[in-house]
Assembly symmetry: C2
Homo-oligomer: 328 residues x 2
């Protein structure tokens, strides 16, 4: 029987999950739940319903898994524990520092409801975490590096947009090529923040705004830009539409380690992603883990999980035999 | 309590496992078993014993896991099912086409003995398989590429050594840079064997051997070289010792896929390894899976497993809490 999927929240991520479900023949989107007026939300899947979130518990027996597509700041800390009591759930909670407490709350709720929850699914946290973990287990003596980009940072773009005189803005995070090269060469460099990434901003000014002042405000903004080398470009609305309407991202996870009785041999493990669409790739990872959540639930394996706790085979629609014969 | 490890077979891989065990503070090497006269085998670990393989069953209660370091051609097909009845075992069986039958035989033996076996551990099969599998689950619509090298192929080196007139030889497999570039650019090329890898041989001739004839024999050898562009260099024994005594290897696993309602967005997932020592890296992967085998066994999860069946957290000495706080 197909895996029956519900989506809560229909922004970029919700739409991405809708597309990902369509690419997986064993999955079927049944409903999208929204806090907006459902009549004003039009989705792509003709066979699925749009419902107000207040009706969601009526779907308890219909859905095999509910995918939570809200934000990590305020939506998921509330939604994931709330719905893990009633549904198998998957979220993409990405505030790294707060994962332990989120895990604890979701775990308690999922166990109470005898459901399976998978949190912090995507690429970082997610695939990047997995690669850090595998590489650390394999090479216990070594050094980790994570680089992000070239890609759009939503948080940094928002920070620029809040500056008076800025009409719209997009910020790209860019890894420093020399730093990557040094890591790949096995030099195990110690890298300051400024040496790992640069930042590039594309800004549309309000009429009459002071460009020099906006640029200065960006470059000196604490936490967001002050510790980086930042470039600011002022562009027109047309240029923004033409050149910066996509949401690309990606990055690199590297571990450089040694083996041998005298630690005489060096090894480099590198994982990289180059993504045209950050939310659609995140959604694709989520869809695979939604499959895993359903299977674990059927086996009675309840509570909260992360990507570390789930055997890879659970992500695939193929059987163990097929996987061993085709991909091992 | 520490994980007590036994090693069967003390060649490059056995020595590599010995080194890897030393890098994992929760593991302890108790004994190395050999088919040779134990008095002629000297190992590096002072606290471990060297025993003849005929005594191995006396160690049933002493060892938590036995690591099988024989070859895939004749050793492992016999040894892994034989010892999986008495020990938790890990092997690096790498004859891809015969994995399904090896799995079935080891699974039956391990289940009979209520032990846990993990087969085909290393980097290919092993880490490369994992990356193929994850990438396929995440991007169901896409294309896979695996490139090997630059590295020493034991099988191809042996094939050259068997040619009359060849005293010693080393063969390197080299990925074609243009092919890698085309894959990375998302071109999804169809690549013939010759377009993916080249081969480079370093050969010491016997005195009086005919260099031109040896070169011709190499380049036209069916299966091994005929389908590749091959370069042959004749070198001295001193050059062989100086420049070719290491066993480096590595390679690349890539998946290029699409997402979006109209498949309008492209994504590239790339995993690569650059290894100074092929056997030592393989051994490091094996050590991590030996830890997993012991844990699964303690949980009563018996039978044969591959890297697809084991949740990543089982490989690490750190607790779930530590992993979530530090690597997620």
């Amino acid at each position: 029987m197909n895996i029956r999927v519900g989506i809560l929240g229909y922004g970029n991520l919700g739409r991405g999950v809708e597309c990902a479900v369509r690419q997986n023949p064993d999955m079927e989107l049944k409903a999208v739940f929204t806090r907006r007026d459902p009549s004003g939300v039009s989705i792509l899947t003709e066979t699925a319903k749009v419902c107000h979130v207040s009706e969601i518990l009526d779907w308890k027996e219909v859905l095999d898994v509910l995918i939570l597509c809200g934000g990590s700041a305020t939506d998921l800390p509330e939604q994931t524990p709330k719905y893990a009591r009633y549904f198998n759930v998957v979220d993409s909670f990405d505030t790294h520092a707060r994962i332990p407490e989120h895990f604890a709350r979701v775990d308690a709720a999922a166990k109470e409801g005898q459901k399976t929850a998978v949190i912090s699914v995507g690429w970082d946290p997610g695939m990047f975490s997995l690669n850090r973990m595998y590489a650390n287990a394999i090479l216990p003596e070594g050094k980790d590096y994570t680089f992000w980009g070239r890609g759009v940072s939503q948080g940094h773009s928002d920070a620029v947009r809040r500056i008076p005189g800025v009409k719209d803005a997009k910020q790209y995070t860019i890894p420093v090529e020399e730093a990557l090269k040094a890591v790949r060469a096995g030099e195990n460099p110690e890298l300051a923040t400024r040496q790992k990434h640069t930042r590039e901003c594309f800004v549309i000014l309000e009429e009459g705004a002071d460009a020099a002042k906006v640029e200065e405000t960006i470059k000196t903004m604490p936490n967001y830009f002050a510790d980086y080398d930042t470039t600011v470009h002022f562009i027109s609305e047309e240029e923004m539409r033409r050149d910066h309407s996509r949401i690309p991202h990606g990055g690199f996870v590297l571990r450089s380690g040694v083996t041998g009785w005298e630690k005489e041999n060096r090894h480099l493990i590198e994982y990289s992603l180059k993504l045209d669409s950050n939310p659609e790739f995140t959604s694709s990872v989520i869809a695979a883990y939604a499959r895993a959540a359903c299977r674990l639930s059927r086996e009675g394996n309840t509570g909260c999980k992360t990507v570390f706790d789930i055997a890879p085979a659970y992500l695939s629609a193929r059987s163990g035999e097929e996987l061993r014969a085709s991909l091992l």
